[in-house]
């Protein structure tokens, strides 16, 4: 666990003397754990979206392009690549804010041990949220490199889809962490993923435009953060900036992240108040 006793100068963690803020110490602890096993994390985190990119973008793309391509004649690979960049960040962040956080409350009780130090509930929430975002950055940069290598980018603005992916990750991670703090078992996560995350992956405009959805489902898609993340990243990646729409996308993502953070502050404090 994070040792509070030694003065900051004497600490020899991955962040060195920088880790003076309490929340950063939580991040530091996570980094220490991550030093073991980061390769298997990256492998399982990146292999799935990458395989989807090849199968859908290139394989299926052959047939889509033969039929006129994605809307506006965009090659299908260029169409799905930014969407997969955002969905992989969402998937990883959703997973990380469910089971591993549950473990810190219930199974390994890391949080309970941390409370014996000067760290407070909010530090734990913010620290682990930063940690999840950090990994979203890592995975997104690598996945973006793969997209570049496949030549699936139409505009230099595409590089901005990396921060969009990370913001989308936070828009999912913060509310799910807040939810996790209210749960006693991991059973609800199965429902959350089967009826929440998987349908979002399939129906939020990742593989086809949402105007293909039945009319009554379209407002539902607008209400989800993934749709906004995918639309924003796709626009940037294809070099189309629509200031007003993009601001709305950003605002929705920011609102989800901020609301999640506020809710998390409440649920974390409630859960960890002994």
């Amino acid at each position: 666990m994070v040792a509070p006793a030694s003065p900051p100068a004497a600490r020899r963690g991955p962040l060195g003397g920088l880790a003076s803020h309490p929340s950063l110490r939580v991040l530091e602890h996570d980094l220490l754990v991550f030093r073991r096993g980061w390769h298997s994390y990256m492998l399982s985190g990146l292999s799935q979206p990458f395989l989807y990119l090849i199968s859908m973008g290139i394989g299926l793309g052959l047939y889509v392009n033969r039929n006129g391509g994605a809307p506006d004649g965009v090659p299908y690979l260029n169409y799905v690549a930014p969407a997969l960049l955002v969905t992989q960040a969402m998937m990883a962040a959703s997973f990380e804010s469910a089971w591993p956080i549950m473990s810190k409350f219930v199974w390994e009780k890391t949080y309970l041990a941390a409370l014996n130090t000067p760290l407070g509930a909010t530090n734990l929430l913010v620290g682990d949220l930063m940690w999840i975002s950090f990994r979203a950055v890592l995975l997104s940069v690598l996945f973006f490199a793969a997209i570049l290598a496949l030549g699936a980018v139409s505009s230099p603005l595409a590089v901005l889809s990396i921060p969009v992916a990370v913001l989308t990750a936070m828009a999912f991670a913060a509310p799910i962490m807040a939810f996790t703090a209210t749960q006693k078992t991991d059973q609800p996560f199965n429902v959350l993923f089967r009826f929440g995350i998987t349908p979002l992956f399939l129906f939020s405009g990742t593989f086809f435009p949402i105007d293909r959805l039945p009319l009554f489902l379209q407002p539902l898609a607008w209400a989800t953060p993934l749709y906004h993340g995918v639309s924003l990243a796709r626009g940037l990646s294809l070099g189309r900036v629509e200031p007003l729409a993009d601001l709305v996308h950003l605002a929705v993502l920011g609102a989800f992240a901020a609301t999640g953070l506020v809710a998390g502050r409440i649920t974390f404090r409630r859960r960890l108040a002994l």
């Binding site: 096993g37 298997s40 492998l43 399982s44 292999s47 799935q48 395989l51 989807y52 090849i54 199968s55 859908m56 394989g59 299926l60 052959l62 047939y63 889509v64 039929n67 391509g69 994605a70 299908y76 059973q187 199965n190 429902v191 089967r194 009826f195 998987t198 349908p199 399939l202 129906f203 593989f207 086809f208 293909r212 959805l213």
Partner: protein, 269 residues
């Protein structure tokens, strides 16, 4: 005079005890089983109808042209049978074997390890059959609605065919699990399953590949399953479906034999 009772031989009865045990367990968490029913349907709607509109029509092996939904539905059925069988025989079976130590108690009873292996595979198939039936029912209803995802009465055979696919993967998955030491090892299993799901002619015809790669894909078990079920639902069977069935049955049976052997090594020291 005692009534003459004809009871089936124990070799058929005993495996069902494992099914009974699992039913008792899942009675309390029915949602876990129930929720599995929706995943293939989500994929069907997303791929078949959403992406399908972008793809238009696809040519089958015999040259007939079908809508993308007709093309992808049987593949999703085969993939769902595979995923269900693998999920049950990997994580779940491993948990029971290594952590819950369910079988350590079973071996002290007249049940044999072959009974245990057959029983767990039977369970995986029964659980899978729920999803297959649900999926087929939805396809059938869509057919009545005029979408016609099954274009042949042979489509009824898709149910036993999906069971054959499930059997093949359940046997192989369980055999693989007996060699697993820790949870992280399942990442490697996923590295085998995920590419099969995405590249075995599931989402587009394998004619997209160069000839050499086509041969490789044709040798994968999921390709055989997809080929089998697609031939039945589209009414385009060829002699290869006999190979499909034999391949998958052999895979399951060899897997089962390995499981019995490995279990006695693991449990009867």
């Amino acid at each position: 005079m005692a009534a003459l009772r004809i009871s089936p031989p124990l070799v058929l009865i005993r495996p069902t005890r494992m099914v009974e045990r699992n039913l008792l367990v899942y009675r309390r968490s029915f949602m876990v089983i129930f929720s599995g029913f929706f995943e293939p349907l989500f994929y069907l709607f997303s791929m078949g109808f959403g992406v399908g509109a972008l793809v238009g029509s696809v040519q089958l092996g015999d040259g007939t042209s079908v809508s993308y939904a007709v093309f992808v539905a049987p593949a999703l059925l085969a993939s769902s049978a595979m995923n269900g069988a693998i999920y049950e025989t990997s994580n779940n079976f491993f948990g029971k074997l290594k952590y819950a130590k369910i079988y350590d108690a079973v071996i002290a009873t007249p049940m044999s390890l072959a009974d245990v292996a057959r029983g767990e595979i039977l369970w995986a198939l029964l659980r899978g059959s729920l999803y297959v039936l649900g999926f087929l029912a939805v396809i059938g209803v869509l057919g009545i609605g005029g979408l016609g995802l099954i274009s042949s009465p042979m489509g009824l055979l898709a149910f036993p065919a999906a069971m054959v696919v499930g059997y093949g993967f359940a046997g192989a998955g369980m055999a693989a699990t007996t060699f697993v030491r820790k949870w992280q090892d399942f990442d490697f299993l996923q590295l085998a399953i995920m590419p099969m799901f995405l590249f075995s002619g599931t989402f587009y015809p394998i004619s997209a590949y160069p000839a050499a790669l086509q041969v490789v894909v044709e040798c994968t078990p999921l390709y055989r399953g997809v080929h089998l079920i697609r031939a039945l639902t589209t009414g385009t069977p060829d002699v290869w479906i006999a190979i499909d069935v034999l391949y998958l049955l052999a895979m399951g049976t060899i897997g089962l034999a390995i499981v019995s052997k490995r279990l006695s090594k693991l449990l009867l020291a």
